[in-house]
Symmetry: C2
Subunit: 249 residues, 2 copies
């Protein structure tokens, strides 16, 4: 089972969009995929058109329910462990626990019937984000075409090194995924150049596509909303790369 | 002295851009303005081209320095109380303090020689965000032209009501500021329609302008980088509205 967190300190870089559309494309290829939402905004559920779930990750964190009980089916081969605003209070309680960075490892141990876990993270440094990077083996960082997003990616990489020093092993940053790429804009080329110096592998960019920003409003993935769009083509290409990556060393 | 927090759960909606360009425009009108960065990304300092500061908000929170000692001059009439990654650890310690929601009120009491305090918040629910909305009197929420940003604004408004119930008085949401508005796109009109139902006053939109996204990379405000651009015109218009708002009831 591959465990991947999609992270980034900068807001609005395409974390949720990548989680939804990479997740659905992997599921369409026949892999069993679980999406886990660790952001209080609960944008995974909104983007997939899922409402009315009774239990969520915050119930798991306060031991009111097991992770398995909170899972809702999203699409064929695609399940969701949703979040809600209750996650904030639950996170405050995590601060007071022993081994508070390894709570996910303990609580998600029963979720091993999947081929992939994809975790959507909030745009901030929090115990939930730390738990995510300790729990997974691989980290992907979307980088939108803004200079502040490049410094956000750099900051996150530095922080991951800090966590590795204090807590022992953590995940490897395996991909930087350029998003909202527009070849007509000067800043797009500037950002791609800056990414070359950071180290991890850089995928071909996800081009800017308004249909990607419209799909969440209808609760649809890009393959359902606009299957022949640039967004659908680019995320299908990314999925091909992800599915064929060599195993972790 | 007016104390205003620029907030929003959704990432990438224009919080930092609004803080920088509203702050500089108020300063250019002769008001004494202090920008306070409560986001670990420290994007206010980057956007203003300020590097090499020794102290920041995290030193204030752990009582290593007073707020006054950490202030750096940014432009004429414009000062900055910067942040850094150390804010994360400082925030963890806040959780364990008494009256942890009112720490800013205690620590910023000496900063009263300004006409405006503008606080840039991180895109997340955290003790720093709660402290910000307890400390200020007014809250502005930028809303970018994405459906997830409208649900983010709604979520924040609901949460502010929760805080008011538990902690007594908190700030009033006085403005919703549409950002990245592009009249050619269908979703722009959809979002503006959805905002009408939320309640607070909606300003004229800040139009999409790539020069707004280029300026931070050069450490410049929009008036320095592109004074005749759409971005400069729209933020100057917003500043006119903010400077002439009736006092709080
Ligand atoms: N390639 C793209 N082209 C155009 N719009 C995009 C693209 N990718 C994402 N978007 C839109 O940009 C906005 C931000 O994307 P998204 O919400 O996925 O980012 P995020 O990093 O998850 O944000 P947050 O920091 O709030 O969690 C959304 O409205 C989304 O629909
Ligand atoms: N009106 C606009 N037109 C075009 N680009 C804009 C506009 N306003 C902001 N931007 C750009 O959009 C990106 C997001 O803006 P900004 O960083 O201010 O948002 P934020 O809400 O502070 O993000 P975060 O959630 O990461 O704190 C930045 O690259 C910024 O330069
Ligand atoms: Mg997201
Ligand atoms: Mg910001």
């Amino acid at each position: 089972m591959r465990k991947i967190a999609i992270v980034g300190f900068k807001g609005g870089i395409g974390k949720t969009t990548t989680c939804v559309n990479l997740g659905d494309a992997l599921a369409r290829r026949g892999h069993r995929v679980l999406l886990i939402d660790t952001d209080t905004q609960a944008n995974l559920a909104i983007s997939l058109g899922i409402t009315g779930f009774k239990k969520s990750l915050s119930d798991v964190l306060v031991r009111k329910a097991t992770a398995e009980e909170c899972i809702v089916p999203a699409r064929k081969n695609l399940d969701l462990l949703p979040s809600n605003l209750g996650l904030f209070k639950a996170q405050q309680r995590m601060v007071l626990e022993m081994a508070r960075e390894e709570i996910f490892e303990e609580l998600f141990v029963g979720l091993n019937s999947y081929d992939y876990h994809l975790i959507d993270c909030a745009p901030s440094l929090s115990l939930l984000t730390i738990n995510s990077v300790v729990y997974v083996d691989e980290v992907f960082i979307p980088v939108s075409m803004e200079l502040l997003a490049t410094s956000g990616a750099q900051q996150f990489m530095n922080y991951l090194k800090d966590i590795a020093r204090t807590l022992g092993q953590t995940a490897q940053i395996r991909l930087l995924i350029p998003t909202m790429y527009d070849p007509r804009r000067r800043v797009s080329k500037q950002v791609i150049n800056l990414l070359q110096d950071l180290g991890p592998r850089i995928t071909k960019p996800i081009r800017v596509d308004t249909q990607l920003s419209e799909a969440p409003g209808y609760g649809k993935t890009i393959y359902e909303y606009a299957p022949r769009s640039r967004g659908a083509i680019d995320y299908a290409r990314l999925t091909e790369v992800v599915a064929n990556m060599p195993p972790m060393s």
